[in-house]
Amino acid sequence: MAAVVSAAPLRRHRPIGRRLVHGLLIGVALGFLLLFLLLPLAAVFVEALRKGLGTYVAAIVHPEALAAIELTLLVAVIAVPLNTVFGVAAAWAMTHFDFRGKALLGALIDLPFSVSPVVSGLIYVLLFGAQGWFGPWLQAHDIKLIFAVPGLVLATIFVTLPFVARELIPLMQAQGSDEEEAARVLGASGWQIFFRVTLPNIRWALLYGVLLCNARAMGEFGAVSVVSGHIRGLTNTLPLHVEILYNDYNYAGAFAVASLLALLALVTLCLKTFLEWRYGSELAARAPRGH
């Protein structure tokens, strides 16, 4: 009680210079956000609706736009679950076992973060393109990877590979394997341990990783641009379709389709914020507990 009373006069006497600095810092941060995040975001929607709602809707229900939406969803539906399974497996291996090359595995998981997306696309062309290593074999067996849907999926898997694993590794490291060992001592099988102990412990971080993975899978431009072939209505994902419309002088259409991607980003952001707010303690590797 006494502390509360004495704190109030203290705050009133805080030097004016410090309050100025506080205000200035908050102002700069907010201004920066406004200028670099909110303004462009608002511009997308303003430009999209510039020629009216009719043009907006027409751009989105255009067959080529619908095909792009369909393809984007298809690519994400394949790439995200695969990377989720891989992410969980890799995080498990990294945190529960000691093995030769563990550091190498960690570095490899991060590789897609450090490689330019254009290079990520190019390696698949070099591997599976008609002049690539496996090109002649693929052609002989009439298998089309590059400039077709499988190529887009491959490139997307590559660039989104680290998201789930990177989210899980620190958490699982902090959690340790005490609970799992306890379950094993009590006679639980491997799958039982995974579904009853591990999964509940990591579920929110997993969801968070899947969310980020999905956002990137749907928004990726560089890598898919290289392997797409840009065939309208067939191999254009949403981001590629935006570029095409923009270059067709169809600015309202380009921004209309871009607004879909912006909406995706906003939904992702909201879900992410919600997860952080609701399950923050479980997301931030529960380090303090038991130490």
């Binding site: 008609a130 052609q139 309208r232």
Partner: protein, 336 residues
């Protein structure tokens, strides 16, 4: 939402299955891999061709399109993009595909006018009132003039730009290769950004507002002016320019594999019909057909032109001298 999403996914899976097994309806599809500024042209040409084919044969032809810098597009076809026909910015890019065995070497003899259904040339697009007073090629090397052109390594239009400038310098009194090289080097010193394709350069110039003059295909300059405001840009016709000949070819290996040769050849032949020639003229490409040429004559400025054959000994030689790795363009040190 969930139902429509499910239907979408189901549709995708069925489509994938169909694509994987090669089961298609009686419908025929073609892929036309083209250069950057022809988006609007081939959209109209393909629609007209499909209507014609439907009337004649009863089959539905869908012509899919891919557009980009000509050199980049040729690279994609070489890397396995299954184009039934290529309609590129210049002969060398089709030669490059032919060199890999995808197209027979005699492709330029298979259709009239060296397999070139229409021509174009290179002109300048400047901002309203021509504030930098740009009248001819020699104005482009003045200090303080920013020139926008795509990258000759990836774009066909850019290679025409480059050779047009080179040809101009050669034709000046006392002009020779050394002086031409100096001139083109000075020109590229004034280029702040190299896009990969012609359309990219156009949006850089008109939409992003960068540069004082855009070196552009005549069709691209006329289209940009029409799309983005007659009152914002002016076209400047130089004293001399190059006759740009963008050719077309059937990709033999692909059509034989897909069984699409008949329709692919018909598509390219269709480009020479009065109907398609009229569409070309409408989109500011110079048609060969006399009726279409007369009809659209007013749209085209009078330009004195030289051809690549007479000035550079054909595309193979021009490519080897100027644009191959370590060629003259590389020696200019652009972007370094």
């Amino acid at each position: 939402m969930s139902i429509s999403l499910r239907r979408t996914l189901l549709g995708s899976l069925l489509w994938l299955a169909a694509a994987a097994t090669g089961v298609h309806a009686a419908d025929v599809s073609l892929l036309n891999v083209s250069y950057d500024p022809t988006r609007e042209l081939y959209k109209d040409v393909s629609a007209a061709f499909s209507a014609q084919w439907k009337k004649d044969k009863g089959d539905t032809v869908t012509v899919n399109a891919s557009h980009g810098g000509s050199g980049k597009q040729a690279r994609s076809v070489i890397d396995g993009l299954e184009a039934d026909v290529v309609t590129l910015a210049l002969a060398y890019d089709i030669d490059a595909i032919a060199d890999k065995g995808l197209i027979k070497p005699d492709w330029q003899q298979r259709l009239p006018h060296n397999a070139t259904p229409y021509t174009s040339t290179i002109v300048f697009l400047v901002r309203k009132g021509n504030p930098k007073g740009i009248k001819d090629w020699n104005d482009l090397i003045k200090p303080g003039v920013e020139v926008i052109t795509p990258n000759p390594k990836t774009s066909g239009g850019a290679r025409w730009n480059y050779l047009a400038a080179w040809g101009y310098a050669l034709k000046q009194p006392g002009g020779n290769d050394a002086k031409a090289k100096e001139f083109v080097a000075a020109l590229f010193k004034n280029v702040p950004v190299l896009d990969t394709g012609a359309r990219g350069s156009t949006t850089t110039f008109v939409q992003r507002g960068i540069g004082d003059v855009l070196l552009a295909w005549e069709n691209e300059a006329l289209l940009a002016r029409q799309e983005l405001g007659q009152d914002q840009f002016e076209i400047v016709v130089p004293s001399i320019s190059i006759l740009a000949e963008p050719p077309v070819a059937v990709v033999d290996k692909v059509v034989d594999k897909r069984g699409s040769r008949a329709v692919a050849e018909a598509y390219l032949k269709f480009l020479y019909t009065p109907e398609a020639q009229d569409i070309a003229g409408k989109h500011y490409y110079r048609p060969y057909d006399e009726k279409a040429a007369t009809k659209y004559a007013a749209a085209f400025p009078k330009v004195a032109t030289f051809t690549i054959a007479e000035q550079f000994g054909g595309w193979k030689q021009a490519q080897a001298t100027h644009f191959a790795d370590g060629g003259v363009f590389d020696q200019l040190g652009v972007g370094k």
